[in-house]
């Protein structure tokens, strides 16, 4: 029987790691994800998880050790956030290029300067071009589930890419919620033992990994990462379906909420999706045709699903906790690309909000609604809007 426990997302991530039975974990403490390696240390100390836990001297070495272990053919896990993920940046490309299915739990946190330990998505969004798969959790249950899903997708032979699962700093990492912990046997059935098909650092079948490629081959190597990302779209659907069958919880790349007759759809990710769904209910009570959509999968970018969603709305209001300078948010860029060649497309309005842990309230969303309604009415509107900005202190 699955067990229900009240826990933080950090603990849920540690539980997911325990259930996935990685053979090597390498981690370095960083707020707000520190509890993940702490909890895993306890599991290892108590013999509940039979793994080598390498207490490395930096995040750079954490991911490097994960690459070494994964290149040796074992399931590998780590957790980090913010500057820690940024310190891993160089090796993230390498992990993807070497096609190593490492999984990282990311407690999504802002980046310095100024130093700030609270939530936004700039850390993992900044890694969107590394080739890693990216999942974003709305709540603690999703943090656990998506890590199991991430392993399964990452290790699929059609994919073989590393994956990161983001969950919002403090809003989720440090907040307790009831979480269902699946049975180990069912997880074992779902994930199975990771057995790489090729020889990995095996003296009986020596191969060379991580070579130099001249211009004659580099581009093709990069293309295989592209191709694997494309393959992941289908594999993710399959794994979501299998997960639902085994665990009863349904996941979609884009989860829609009250979008059927919506004129304005608020699109977001992570824990903000919960707030937005509630806000949509509040608007519906006033007879405002609003809906919500949540991206559970950000890389590979769910282009097809975005196009389907776009058919249902007149305005897509993108709520983003990240900035791409001169553009707005990353979603704005991605949605623009997905829709640019569509014959009929909704108006895109971008909202930058909640950076560095700034609360996102209904009042902020009212502001986003007002601008979206202007756009809907054909009035002039700004494409990129900083919501809740305290202009008086600038």
């Amino acid at each position: 029987m699955p067990m229900r426990k009240v826990m933080k997302a950090n603990e849920a991530a540690a539980w997911a790691a325990k259930l996935a039975k990685p053979k090597v974990i390498a981690a370095f403490p960083i707020t707000p994800s520190t509890l993940v390696p702490e909890k895993i240390s306890e599991f290892v100390a108590d013999g509940e998880l039979d793994a080598e836990f390498i207490k490395v001297e930096s995040e750079h070495s954490a991911i490097s050790a994960c690459v070494g272990a994964s290149a040796a053919g074992v399931r590998t896990f780590t957790a980090t956030a913010s500057q820690g993920l940024a310190l891993m940046h160089e090796i993230l490309f390498i992990a993807a290029g070497m096609r190593l299915p490492i999984v990282i739990a990311v407690g999504n946190r802002s980046l310095s300067a100024p130093i700030n330990i609270w939530n936004d998505w700039q850390d993992s969004i900044s890694e969107r071009d590394t080739g890693w798969l990216q999942f974003y959790a709305e709540n603690n249950q999703e943090a656990l589930d998506l890590i199991l899903i991430a392993f399964k997708v990452a290790e699929d032979e059609r994919v073989l890419l590393p994956a990161m699962v983001g969950f919002d700093a403090f809003i989720l990492t440090h907040t307790v919620e009831p979480v269902e912990i699946p049975d180990q046997e069912v997880v074992d059935e779902f994930l199975g033992e990771y057995e790489p098909k090729y020889a990995y650092l095996d003296p009986a079948r020596p191969i060379t990994q991580g070579t130099l490629a001249f211009p004659a081959h580099y581009m093709e190597a990069r293309y295989t990462v592209w191709e694997a990302n494309e393959n992941a779209k289908k594999v993710i659907d399959e794994v979501f379906a299998e997960f639902e069958k085994k665990f009863g919880r349904k996941y979609q790349k884009i989860e829609e909420y009250r979008t059927d007759d919506a004129e304005i759809v608020f699109v977001t990710m992570g824990s903000l999706a919960g707030t937005v769904k509630e806000y949509v209910d509040h608007l519906r009570e006033q007879g405002i045709k609003a809906g919500a959509a949540k991206l559970t999968v950000y890389r590979p970018f769910p282009t097809e699903e975005v196009r389907e969603l776009a058919k249902k709305a007149k305005v897509l209001a993108l709520l983003e906790k990240n900035v791409t300078f001169s553009v707005g948010g990353a979603l704005f860029q991605d949605f623009s690309r997905a829709l640019v060649n569509e014959k009929e497309k909704p108006i895109l309005v971008d909202f930058i909000l909640g950076l560095g842990g700034r609360d996102v309230t209904f009042k902020d969303l009212d502001e986003a609604l007002e601008i979206s309604r202007k756009a809907l009415a054909g009035e002039e509107f700004e494409e990129v809007n900083w919501i809740g900005l305290r202009k008086e202190i600038l």
Binding site: G68, A71, D202, F214
Partner: protein, 331 residues
């Protein structure tokens, strides 16, 4: 007819077909190191192939693993420039969980070890991973075209320490990474040289056989970066030992009081007290080493720089507990 056993295995792990420069001393070092490793694995585990290599970016990496070719006949992985030690930590942890017998060999040049890789190296040694770290020391960033590293010796020309009106070339003494490694109190630390290949092989075998981390720093020549004759690599390396430039020693378990200093040869007089080397009177002047290399050519117009080098060498030996006398060339 009696067949004489070869002094070292004929098995090859660093195979022909790599793209190293002619006369590359580091290629020789890797060839010997992997052969020694293989012998140690055979003696320890009964399996000569029971090892894997994690290598840092550097000249020996790019010349040995050009896709779709490889010079490696052992399982080998390269991740990045600064993290051979961290990657090796992961490989070792994975092997432990896979129940695989054997040892991991991490390889890095002086840039990837003494500079950018220092933190990862320290972490790996401190955590006591069962890894031998081999630093091949050709005393500059040779992969990127001969820039100075913290292991470049005083007075040497490199592209980023050019001699000029206001410069004698590299103006800092060489960083002693072997001593930093020994400060971690790990089971085994040694310096070696391709100028004494039998000693190098012996030390690599010893390193491979200890349980826990070991560090070996091997001095190897780079004809391109040192501007030295292709065929004189081993001779130059030997002169480094015989003139006092390159000390050969072993430190076990971080015990600096029992540092094993080796007699340098070349006619040097060694004074021992209680089995311990306390003084060495070198017979060959350092100029004999310097004059074979274009990177030191400019120093012969500035003899005071060579005298400064002598002082630095004395100071370095003093740290090792040895008083040395270094001759000047006969006028």
């Amino acid at each position: 007819m009696a067949v004489r056993k070869p002094p070292i295995t004929t098995r090859e792990y660093w195979a022909p077909g790599h793209a190293a420069c002619a006369g590359c001393g580091c290629a020789t070092a890797l060839k010997l190191a992997t052969k020694a490793f293989s012998e140690a694995m055979e003696e320890k585990f009964g399996d000569p192939n029971a090892f894997a290599i994690a290598q840092a970016t550097g000249c020996m990496e790019v010349v040995s693993a050009v896709f779709p070719y490889t010079a490696w006949k052992a399982p080998w992985v390269h991740v990045a420039f600064e993290n051979a030690a961290a990657a090796a930590s992961g490989v070792e942890a994975a092997w432990k969980k896979l129940g695989r017998k054997g040892k991991i060999l991490a390889i890095g040049g002086d840039g990837g070890t003494a500079d950018i890789g220092m933190q990862a190296l320290s972490g790996m040694l401190e955590r006591r991973h069962n890894v031998v770290y081999l630093m091949y020391d050709n005393e500059a960033y040779m992969n990127t075209g001969i820039q100075r590293s913290s292991s470049t010796p005083y007075g040497a020309w490199t592209t980023t320490s050019p001699p000029g009106k206001y410069s004698i070339g590299e103006d800092k003494p060489k960083k002693w990474v072997a001593l930093i490694a020994a400060a971690h109190q790990i089971p085994y630390v040694a310096t070696a040289s391709i100028g004494n290949p039998f000693d190098f092989v012996k030390k690599m075998k010893k390193a491979a056989k200890v349980d826990g981390p070991a560090f070996v720093q091997v001095h190897c020549t780079c004809p391109t970066g040192w501007k030295s004759p292709l065929e004189k690599g081993v001779e130059i390396a030997r002169l480094a030992i015989e003139t006092g430039i390159w000390p050969l020693f072993e430190i076990e378990n971080g015990d600096f009081f029992n540092i094993k200093i080796q007699a340098p040869g070349g006619g040097a007089k060694v004074k021992r007290e209680g089995g311990r080397v306390v003084a060495i009177e070198f017979k060959k002047p350092i100029e004999e080493y310097l004059k074979l290399q274009g990177r030191f050519k400019h120093l012969f117009k500035q003899p005071e720089a060579i005298d400064e080098m002598r002082e630095q060498i004395k100071a370095m030996w003093k740290v090792l507990g040895v008083d040395v006398t270094l001759p000047k060339p006969e006028e």
